[in-house]
């Protein structure tokens, strides 16, 4: 009896030891302070709370986008802008907030990080996917203004769901753009933010350590993401699995390190849907962890060329997978819009209004992600032009017209018409384009998968069996 208990405890201890060694390597931080001559008392050099604050500003902005009632436009716009531009006041977190069985640790933005905004980190190149040939930031500002003036963030006439448009577009224009086009791009160069100096005077982290952390922060995954299945990561973002989120077991979810925000959520979503053959979440996460370990291993010395090129290879993995995540989401919603049109054509009366609302929501997600794809480091060129032509400036609306541009006063014009089946064809072409040019593999809501499945079943045509 005694012997077996002893055996059992040894086994448990060995198991625990194995578990901690595995998880230590798979968690993003803590990492020791390597800055030479650091005099503070910090023992962890990881810092990306500013990016988490921006995720929270984004989630809150999205929640506000649906608060319009047709009469509170000015007030709501000011409130939305305080989240977009940042505020001197300590803004309350509107989303994500605690809910039954999922308590959230922080209640205000400053509890995460103060003085942060979205506007200063927003893609501001040309955004040809939206009418008026405006800059990236002007586009989102006009969306915020329209959302504030709408009822419930919904413009039935033109077919816009402002919350979805603003949110999905921001996932590219802020998070993806800042990470892959800034921190993981030029800031990895030798002459920028070197590793043999603190990021700023007195900081507990080196230049390169912090650059990498900031890139990671925009990705929006919890530090322990590698121990989560795609389904668990999905459930954390939906605030339905406290155990999966609460890595340190203190009973609350720390937004700074335990929550799943937008980009990581969509990576998990892709991994968990369609063909279920992709591994975007773990692949991106592992590249971030490996990159950070590499920098830490330099011990506060400047990175050698070999180390920097290894780091750039991790950055390239992150970038290409992240682009695919955005493309997978675009692909999925093109499929949703296709199916919504079929449902819309069959629905009548009240059901038709509901079906149309659903269609507009999915279109907003489709369009937002298609715009997000165009905010990366690479110019998608012809692919972007084709994508924008196929999706259009707005969806086909109930009278078959769709937005073709804006007039001098900023009002939408709908000067063309298309049939429902023509627009369905465009959605099929969007899916074909993304499969062809970006190589999406999860392919959720693939509208031609039924053909592929049937062809597989029929098998290759026997060209020899003639009579």
């Amino acid at each position: 009896m005694l012997k077996s208990t002893f055996k059992c405890t040894t086994l448990v201890a060995a198991g625990l030891f194995a578990a901690t060694t595995v998880s230590a390597a798979d968690v993003y931080g803590p990492y020791p302070v390597t800055v030479k001559g650091y005099e503070g008392d910090k023992t962890d050099s990881v810092s990306y709370s500013g990016q988490i604050a921006r995720h929270v500003l984004h989630d809150s902005l999205k929640a506000l986008a649906s608060k319009g009632n047709g009469e509170n436009a000015a007030e709501l716009e000011a409130q939305m802008l305080s989240y977009f531009n940042g505020s001197d006041e300590d803004l309350p977190i509107i989303a994500p907030v605690s809910k039954d069985g999922f308590p959230v640790k922080q209640e205000t933005v400053n509890a995460i990080s103060s003085g942060k905004n979205i506007s200063g980190k927003f893609y501001n190149g040309l955004m040809p996917a939206w009418p008026g040939a405006q800059s990236g930031k002007d586009v989102v500002l006009s969306m915020i203004s329209k959302a504030a003036a709408s009822e419930g963030g919904y413009d039935a006439e033109n077919g816009y769901d402002w919350g979805q448009l603003i949110s999905k577009y921001t996932m590219g224009a802020m998070m993806y753009n800042q990470s892959v086009d800034n921190y993981l791009d030029e800031k990895l160069d030798a002459d920028q933010k070197p590793n043999d100096a603190p990021y700023s005077e007195g900081a507990a982290y080196t230049g390169k350590e912090h650059v990498w952390d900031e890139g990671f922060g925009y990705w929006g995954a919890p530090a322990h993401a590698l121990s989560l299945t795609p389904a668990q990561a999905y459930a954390v973002a939906k605030q339905s699995d406290l155990a999966a989120a609460d890595a340190n077991g203190d009973g609350v979810v720390d937004l700074k390190s335990e929550y799943v925000f937008g980009p990581a959520y969509y990576a998990a979503g892709a991994d968990n849907s369609g063909t279920k053959t992709t591994t975007y979440l773990p692949d991106i996460m592992r590249a971030f962890v490996s990159g950070r370990e590499l920098i830490t291993s330099a011990g506060g010395e400047a990175l050698t060329d070999a180390q920097r090129s290894e780091l750039k290879a991790y950055a390239a993995t992150i970038e290409s997978n992240w682009e695919k995540v955005l493309a997978e989401a675009t692909f999925k919603y093109a499929g949703s819009v296709y199916a919504d049109i079929a449902a819309l054509e069959e629905a009548e009366g009240e059901d038709k209004a509901k079906a149309y609302r659903n269609y507009v929501k999915h279109w907003g997600e489709l369009k937002g992600f298609a715009m997000a794809l165009q905010t990366g480091r690479n110019n998608l060129g012809e692919t972007a032009v084709e994508l924008n032509n196929l999706i259009g400036f707005g969806p086909v609306t109930l009278d078959n017209s769709y937005v073709t541009g804006i007039d001098a006063d900023g009002n939408f014009e709908r000067k063309r018409r298309a049939t429902w089946s023509e627009y369905q064809l465009s959605m099929l072409q969007v899916q074909a384009l993304l499969a062809d040019k970006i190589g999406v593999a999860a392919r959720a809501n693939d509208k031609t998968s039924a053909l592929t499945d049937l062809a597989d079943k029929l098998g290759a045509i026997s060209n020899a069996e003639t009579d």
Partner: protein
Amino acid sequence: MEALDQLISLFSDFANPKKRIFVGYLGLSLLIAFGWLLVIKRQNLRDALRHLFDKRVFFSKSSIADYKIFVINGLISVLIAPYLLTQIAVATALFFALHKQSLFAAGVWDDTSKPIVIALFSLCMFVVDDLTKYLLHRWMHRWPLLWAIHKVHHSAETLTPITVYRVHPLEGLVYGLRGALAQGVVMSTFIFLFGDTVDLYTIVGVNVLVFLFHVTGSNLRHSHISIQYWPWLEHIFISPAQHQLHHSIAEEHFDKNFGAALAVWDWLFGSLHISEDNRKLTFGLGPKEMSSFKLADIYWRPFSDMGKYFKRRAKRIKARLAPSAAKSSQPRP
């Protein structure tokens, strides 16, 4: 190593229930033939076995050429497979194109019950496949350019199940194209109208109707066992004896029984010929047409025949143009 892989894939047809020469189908054909000889033809066991495994058939020069062609064509098809038009390419293009018409909306009948859709699809696929095989086969006999290719198949002087592979590679291409078009059209139309409910009833992975065709002795079509059906049934399904008659060199059998599984097409288009009792058939081509066993002749002759055809046409066109050219060159009065 690669050559070995190709050789293995070549013989994998024998293990693939989607192929006619799957060992299971061959075994069943053997049983059917054996039963036919014992019960209907009242042969004794020894005679039946001797008849069944007649070495004058299986080891004739013509049959040995069939076996060689089977291997050579297998290697050729591995090489050209990546360049062939596939049914999925046709189906996808047509599925997209169907969205441009306004008569039917996509998924217009997507609430039809699943068993009905699957039955309808399986039947339609079989019927369209069979009809297009009939039509193409008919054209193969009627159009000189296609006949130049198809006569490779008819140069066989003894028939065995492997004779089904005795075709010129160009015929393989044409048949593959037909299959891609026929299946592509049916698949895309069904999925456009019925949505994702479309599926195929299969047994061992093949369309249940194709399976039935194979387990009822499709391999005996190319054999020396002339199994006949009742005349009424030979108006619906092609019996092995009817297909053997299609290979006969007797003039009254020319251009008869083009059908693959169904005889209704021949019946409908006037090319049906029911089987004849105790008729000794001779297979092959005329003496000057093509060798039954010389491979160089078998593979090259179609090209030279096609060349001769074009030469003849060019001569005729020239002759037709010549007087008018002479006329137009005359000085105006």
